[in-house]
């Protein structure tokens, strides 16, 4: 029901003159094609398809020739595959944060962005999952990662962080999908009853599972949704913690740090919120959703980006501090090499993107300047990719033995698969925008009493 508006909230969470009916109309008409998709939609989908073609091409070439087509070698045995994996999975984290953690904190501004933030999570995790699968070189044998009784009589090594990762990421993907779909059921029922075409009616009808909104059903539904939020909250923290263990449990200088779990989780939320901004800004503009994704949402997301960005920057400073304080020759060399070695430009770009740029978000003028904010969100996305590049490559390319030192250069096949994964994300996302209610209809109706009557 209606919550009280705090006097501190200058901007409303919902535009003026909205009724229950107008909310349904606006969002359902997008899915049913009554509001024609903007030209931007066609451009986005076609771009995504073109890039995704590159992914297919790259993956085929990889399977024919093996992982040697990538720039990987010893000592840098982990290159783009892990960088992109961590980047994508980090982006996904904001979706769960918005849908689960902000639900538990009763933040009413989450309701109009949670659906597409969750969709973003799902699609980002699907892109993330692609990279370990490609990296194993023979993805048809990926089921070897699962514990099952087999004729080889071997089991996964359960003490290995890489096996933890398999469990964490597959659980995360499953729970994110469940959460997203559970949230969709009532809206799919609304779509079923509004669709006029036989095909649309049948498809929405099948996925709505016969939802009828009875009081007893809603009671169980709400409890189940709240429990899922409660389960997802520690889950999302555990996933990036486990991802950071992939590094932290090893003995490589620059990776072997207790700082990694909190710093990775903050970085994940930071990049994810930047990605939500990157997506929300064009979506609200091209689909005319300014009444649902108001300046209050944009402002709040920019603030979360700033807060988590500060945690990330603190992490960078602590890495430098511990490098010095450890009095360990290898750690000290790693930090100096990171700042002045062959990959120093990447490091300083990273400091620019993640350390300096977010400081602009202290200013209200910047947070309320949409084009400027959009550019900042893109810079943050690039910065978080650079962060993983710096962590993975600078630590590995200077091995303990100077005789094995080498440089890592990504090849064409590294790039085409990375850019192709962005294409896959775009294709999924643009299809979602067109055919699935991109804003949770039934949840936004709770905000209707807050809508000002003009």
């Amino acid at each position: 029901m209606a919550t009280n508006v705090s006097p501190l909230q200058s901007e409303p969470v919902i535009g003026p003159n909205q009724t229950y009916g107008s909310v349904t109309d606006k969002i359902a008409n997008i899915c049913l094609g009554k509001q024609a998709p903007p030209v931007f939609w066609y451009i986005g989908l076609l771009t995504g398809l073109a890039l995704m073609g590159g992914l297919g091409h790259g993956a085929l070439w990889l399977f024919l020739n093996g992982v040697g087509v990538w720039g990987l070698n010893i000592p840098v045995g982990w290159g783009f595959a892990i960088i992109n994996f961590v980047w994508w999975i980090g982006i996904g984290h904001a979706g769960t944060l918005i849908s689960a953690i902000l639900l538990l904190f009763r933040q009413d501004w989450r309701t109009s962005i949670n659906r597409f933030a969750e969709a973003m999570t799902l699609f980002a995790v699907s892109c993330a999952g692609l990279f370990p699968l490609l990296h194993v070189g023979r993805p048809w044998l990926a089921f070897w990662l699962m514990p099952y009784p087999n004729t080889m009589n071997v089991w996964p090594q359960f003490r290995s962080p890489l096996v933890w990762d398999v469990f964490a990421v597959s659980t995360y993907a499953t729970v994110s999908a469940l959460f997203w779909y559970t949230g969709l059921i009532p809206d799919l029922a609304t779509m079923r009853d509004r669709a006029t075409g036989k095909v649309a009616k049948t498809i929405y009808g099948i996925f709505a599972l016969g939802w009828r909104g009875s009081a007893r059903h809603w009671e169980r539904y709400e409890i189940a949704y709240l429990m899922l939020a409660g389960l997802s909250t520690p889950l999302v923290v555990s996933v990036h913690t486990v991802v950071s263990f992939d590094f932290a449990v090893s003995v490589i200088p620059g990776w072997h740090a207790t700082l990694f779990p909190p710093y990775f989780v903050a970085g994940a939320i930071y990049s994810g919120f930047a990605m939500v901004l990157t997506l929300a800004i064009p979506v609200r503009y091209f689909w005319g959703l300014e009444d649902f994704i108001t300046m209050r949402h944009i402002d709040a997301m920019a603030k979360v980006t700033l807060a988590t960005g500060l945690v990330v920057f603190y992490g960078y400073m602590m890495e430098v501090f511990f490098g010095w304080y450890s009095q360990n020759e290898y750690e000290q060399f790693m930090i100096l090499n990171r700042m002045s070695g062959p990959y120093a430009p990447m490091y300083w770009m990273l400091i620019f993107c993640n350390g300096l740029t977010p400081q602009l978000l202290w200013f209200k003028k910047v947070r309320f300047n949409i084009p400027f904010l959009f550019v900042i969100s893109l810079i943050v996305n690039v910065g978080m990719w650079l962060e993983r590049f710096v962590i993975v490559v600078t630590s590995l390319h200077r091995d303990f033995l100077p005789s094995s030192w080498d440089m890592y250069y990504p090849t064409f096949w590294d790039w085409i698969i990375y850019i192709g994964s962005i294409g896959q994300f775009l294709v999924f996302f643009f299809l979602f925008l067109r055919f699935v209610p991109m804003i949770a209809i039934f949840e936004v109706k709770h905000l209707v009493p807050l809508s000002k009557k003009a």
């Binding site: 359960f158 469940l178 009081a215 169980r220 409890i223």
Partner: protein, 178 residues
């Protein structure tokens, strides 16, 4: 004439619906159900049905996932495939915790969603309430109150009269059973 499932009345707001439920219960009807486009807090107390037991089942599923995950690891690393690596203990339980946690969450979440659907009797192909002629409006912005035919005081004519006159509902319809 075919059998009736219920008599239904529409209301325009959650407040009107809650008020109508109160009056309906005062009039002595017991088999009451509502259909709404979004969850309304206070419906359970107003209609008077029990709290779902789903949370306890999810708790049990979480415990099962926790024990199952841990004992899978224990069985593999200690009993079935013990490897002595530098004399380190076989039951290195702290290293088993991440997977134990993930299996706990996985089993609890699956039980949570599928349990919710199972208790709700979903998926279901058809339900008599879909015979209500304006059901699309109920999934949009109307709030529906029904008294079902199994109510001991069920009398379609009296209920229609009660809905229209006493509760002031503008749309009152009989809903046929199949």
């Amino acid at each position: 004439m075919s059998k009736l499932f219920a008599v239904a009345a529409e209301f325009d707001s959650p407040e009107a619906l809650l008020e109508a439920i109160g009056k309906t219960r005062k009039a002595g009807y017991t088999k009451i159900e509502t259909y709404t486009p979004f969850p309304i807090h206070g419906l359970r107390e107003a209609i008077g049905f029990k709290k779902p037991i789903l949370p306890w089942i999810v708790f049990g599923a979480g415990l099962t996932g926790m024990c199952g995950g841990f004992f899978l690891e224990y069985w593999v690393q200690v009993l079935n495939m013990p490897y002595n690596i530098g004399g380190k203990p076989l039951n290195s339980w702290p290293a088993f915790i991440p997977i134990t946690f993930e299996t706990t969450v996985l089993l609890a979440s699956l039980t949570c969603v599928f349990g919710m659907l199972a208790f709700n009797g979903l998926p279901r192909h058809h339900h008599p309430i879909f015979n209500y002629p304006r059901f699309a409006e109920v999934m949009n912005d109307k709030f529906l109150l029904t008294i079902e035919a199994k109510d001991p005081k069920f009398d379609p004519t009296a209920i229609r009269e009660f809905f229209a006159a006493d509760l002031g509902s503008s749309e009152v319809h009989e809903v046929e059973d199949e």
